[in-house]
């Protein structure tokens, strides 16, 4: 896949990218940001920007073997690798655990 637009997030010590067409709005608090998505929400430590025309690579077997988190692929932005979030199955590091969650697909 190529040409994706990603909203870049920091969470759990990692750089993440959320397909920007999935994001409806951002709600900032003191030490975290809530992303309201078409389906559900995510929690991040910070929003770092937007990356355009990012080439997304599928996660290979070695990654899947040693990292059980679902993901929508991998990419590089500005020399730094990132994980593309599968919004239907958010990673634990970004899950909104306070109820309003859009995590109904995560089990």
């Amino acid at each position: 896949m190529s040409g994706a637009g990603l909203l870049l997030l920091r969470g759990g010590g990692c750089l993440w990218g959320v397909p920007d067409e999935e994001v409806e709005r951002l709600e900032g608090e003191r030490d975290r940001v809530t992303l309201r998505l078409r389906r559900g929400s995510l929690i991040a430590e910070a929003v770092l920007g937007v990356a355009r025309a990012v080439r997304i690579h599928p996660a290979g077997a070695s990654l899947r073997r040693f990292w059980p988190e679902p993901c929508g692929g991998l990419a590089v932005h500005d020399g730094r690798p990132l994980v593309v979030v599968d919004v239907a199955r958010p990673p634990r590091a970004l899950r909104d655990t306070e109820g309003e969650v859009g995590n109904e697909h995560a089990h």
């Binding site: 690579h57 077997a61 070695s62 990654l63 990292w67 991998l74 020399g79 690798p81 590091a93």
Partner: protein, 146 residues
């Protein structure tokens, strides 16, 4: 032990690397690049074998800890740690991954007929090379489910 990717050859030309207390032989045909250890960005919740992601040639590269993959006891502190960019997985599912190792040592021939079968996982077997035991890696097995 089947023929595997090494076919009928009597020796396998390999890059010797140190991983913890072990010396490993990586088939040279699988090695794409060797470089000073790449900066690694950890992934939350990853198994210890997966150190994280790095950037290589503008693409994301999973970096695996070779010493952990082969359960090597700790060795001397690495003076010049390296990242090996290798082609792993079976022919039907090739992928490029990085292996973090403590040092790249030399290129040598590993006598296939002297191999003592390994654990059935990443270590294909053990053979003597220049008076020391080396573990020949089977990179086809890397992505396989445990």
């Amino acid at each position: 032990m089947g023929k595997g990717p090494l076919g009928d050859a009597e020796t396998a030309r390999c890059l010797m690397v140190r991983a913890g207390d072990h010396v490993c032989a990586v088939p040279l045909a699988r090695v794409r690049r060797v470089m000073r250890a790449l900066p690694i960005f950890p992934l939350p919740g990853a198994s210890p074998e997966l150190l994280g992601l790095a950037e290589f040639g503008g693409e994301p590269l999973p970096i695996l800890d070779l010493a952990r993959l082969i359960a090597a006891p700790p060795g001397a502190t690495a003076q010049f740690p390296v990242t090996l960019v290798v082609v792993a997985g079976p022919a039907s599912d090739r992928e490029v991954v990085g292996l973090a190792a403590d040092a790249a040592l030399e290129i040598a021939e590993v006598p296939i007929r002297s191999l003592v079968a390994g654990d059935g996982g990443l270590v294909r077997g053990e053979a003597p090379v220049a008076g020391r035991a080396v573990r020949l890696l089977d990179l086809e097995a890397l992505g396989a489910t445990r």
